[in-house]
């Protein structure tokens, strides 16, 4: 086991430190000796496909399950049960008590904490006003997630854990939820997010850790990671518009009735296409994203 040496400046901004965390279940290594730090006020993304060990890691950090070995430090102090007063949690899948309304659920959770934020503020922040008197069983997916987020914020925590918060939501509900998280970030709160949606991580996260099979395979800011691993952009054109000779000459890839051109010089490549009298109808230019990075690092897609 190795102990990481940190500079005083690093330590000053650090709110959570995870050291050599291991979790085994009956011979399966769900989390395999991982270490990382989270800075105050940042949105930290724990990314990876299903079964990568994200939820296990986040639940150890929340104090819900115990690690086989390793430690989690909050501002340098090991976690104990008092941590529940200071953190907010939104689990991946949680049912709420049946037959209680949204307002009654807020009242119930308010009673658990010593310090809470006023309901009016919470209702406004999470946009709950339209369904306050609705039975929990009758909430839509987006409404339910907003209520669960409100419950995570009810004790005005400095650190908020969100485990796959937008899974199962429609695109509009996802984008609305992203805006809520941005509003929370704006209050200088630290957000720890697990997701397998790379666009979500790129939109929200300041720092990410990418996990696969219980191990960390990459860590940094999304831009740093992409800049480190990719210098190219992708240009796509319908296959029928590009002469076969040109494809073979430049060794371009044909996939799914599209020609994929990988290049560092977008302008030069487009000039070349124009010179070869190739129609640019349907042309797409795409920068590599975290999905591409994951594919490059592991050889399989994030959604597999």
């Amino acid at each position: 086991m190795t102990q990481v040496q940190r500079s005083p400046n690093e330590t000053k901004h650090m709110v959570i430190e995870v050291n050599n965390l291991v979790k085994s279940y009956k011979g399966v290594q769900a989390v395999d000796d991982i270490s990382f730090t989270i800075n105050k006020g940042h949105c930290f993304g724990l990314l990876g496909p299903n079964g990568a060990g994200k939820t296990t890691t986040i639940e150890i950090m929340e104090g819900i399950i115990k690690a086989t070995s390793g430690q989690v430090l909050y501002s340098g102090i090991s976690i104990d049960e008092d941590i529940s007063q200071q953190i907010g949690i939104q689990f991946q899948s949680t049912a709420l008590q049946d037959f209680l309304t949204v307002q009654e659920t807020l009242n119930l959770f308010t009673s658990f904490y010593d310090n809470t934020i006023p309901h009016e503020e919470l209702i406004k922040l999470c946009d709950l006003n339209d369904f306050l008197d609705r039975d929990n069983r009758l909430l839509s997916g987006g409404q339910r997630q907003r209520l669960l987020l409100a419950l995570a914020l009810i004790n005005d925590p400095e650190i908020i854990f969100l485990d796959e918060p937008t899974t199962g939501l429609d695109p509009q509900a996802r984008r609305n939820f992203w805006q809520l998280i941005k509003n929370i970030k704006a209050q200088d709160k630290t957000v720890i997010l697990t997701t397998h949606y790379m666009d979500e991580a790129e939109q929200l996260c300041d720092d990410v850790v990418i996990m696969d099979s219980g191990k960390i395979i990459a860590t940094g800011t999304p831009n740093q990671l992409l800049a480190k691993h990719f210098q190219n952009v992708f240009i796509y054109l319908p296959k029928g518009q590009v002469p076969q000779v040109l494809i073979e000459k430049h060794n371009w890839v044909v996939d799914n009735e599209r020609v994929e051109i990988t290049t560092q010089q977008v302008e030069e490549t487009i000039s070349l296409l124009i010179a070869a009298q190739v129609s640019l109808d349907g042309l797409q230019v795409k920068s590599p994203n975290l999905d591409d990075l994951f594919l490059k690092l592991t050889g399989h897609s994030l959604r597999e």
């Binding site: 949690i89 689990f91 949680t94 049946d98 037959f99 009242n107 119930l108 904490y113 010593d114």
Partner: protein, 334 residues
């Protein structure tokens, strides 16, 4: 123990129960239907003969004892014979040694048998007793209410906790400062309130139509009901302490409730049962709840008279609760 958290969870559970109309309706109508059905089925007396209690029957020789269509039952003492007369279990009591006879003023059968008796004997002193008849529905009432309490306690606590555990409600609560003790206590008190409230509604409602027999104190009956509810809820908590499977908990709760339904004296007395069955029945909380309540209702027993049943319920509650708290898991870990 933080009482703010405790009361909030208890209130939430009560709201959940009272808004679940199907569950509420079943809890109310099941015992009422059972009592109404039994009352109807056993409304006809069905007796072909009169029953006369005779003190020390073997020592008596009298032509009256040859009267046809009359059963003569031997009693060793007057008090037990007259108690049975008061309860309408028999129609007439004769004591040949003191030349006394007793009639129950509220019993038509008593009136007829007295007329027959006076046709042969005129030198006996007439004494009277009063008392309402004990019908089968009076006898079975504590059994039905006890059985309903048992189902409500076992399934209302055990099943709900496993459902909460399975769908991660417990996991969400664990992520708050709420302690396991506060949660379990709130479930226990909430269920006691629900069970006693429902039992009182059923008892008072049915009493209005059926006019139940009651020799003892309602307060003693209430105390026994509380003790019974606590022991049954504790048993439910113990059964549900770790399981995450609704199928498994369903089986376990059936395994727990069926022996009690059959062997705890709900439907019939265990007096003539084999000794092994009686010993086994003694280990079941419902046996002590039903036996204690029945003695209060039909014999006017006090808590001191039924101290054995009270002690058994207290001991069982303590053991079940201690084990249940020790084994309790918020979230059965993978």
């Amino acid at each position: 123990m933080n009482f703010k958290r405790f009361f909030a969870v208890m209130k939430a559970r009560n709201i959940e129960f009272f808004r679940d109309r199907s569950s509420l309706g079943w809890s109310l109508f099941f015992p009422i239907l059972m009592l109404a059905g039994l009352s109807f089925v056993f409304s006809g007396d069905g007796k072909a003969v009169y029953k006369v209690g005779v003190v020390n029957l073997e020592t008596v020789q009298s032509p009256f004892l040859a009267t046809r269509y009359v059963d003569f039952i031997d009693y060793k003492d007057k008090s037990s014979a007259t108690l049975k007369l008061e309860q309408h279990a028999i129609d007439f009591v004769l004591d040949y040694s003191d030349k006394n006879y007793w009639v129950n003023q509220g019993s038509p059968n008593s009136y007829f048998i007295e007329k027959i008796f006076l046709g042969q004997h005129t030198d006996f002193k007439r004494l009277e007793t009063h008392g309402k008849k004990i019908r089968y529905v009076d006898w079975v009432l504590p059994g039905i209410l006890g059985m309903n309490m048992m189902f409500s306690c076992l399934f209302g606590v055990g099943y709900v906790i496993v459902r909460y555990r399975k769908n991660s409600v417990l996991k969400r609560l664990k992520a708050t400062p709420l302690s396991a003790f506060e949660f379990v206590s709130a479930q226990l008190v909430s269920r006691i309130f629900i069970v006693l409230f429902m039992s009182c509604v059923v008892y008072v409602g049915c009493n209005f139509f059926l006019d139940f027999y009651m020799l003892g104190s309602h307060i003693d009956l209430f105390i026994v009901a509380i003790l019974g509810a606590v022991s049954l809820i504790s048993l439910g908590l113990l059964v549900a302490s770790r399981s995450k499977s609704e199928e498994l908990i369903g089986g376990l709760l059936n395994l727990t409730s069926w022996p009690m339904m059959l062997l705890s004296g709900v439907w019939f007395s265990l007096e003539g049962a084999p000794n092994a069955v009686k010993v086994f029945a003694d280990l079941l909380p419902l046996t002590h709840l039903v036996a204690g309540a029945r003695k209060i209702i039909t014999e006017g027993a006090t808590l001191a008279d039924i101290s054995y049943h009270v002690a058994a319920l207290v001991i069982m509650s303590t053991v079940f609760l201690a084990l249940g708290s020790y084994l309790f898991s918020w979230n059965a870990e993978r």
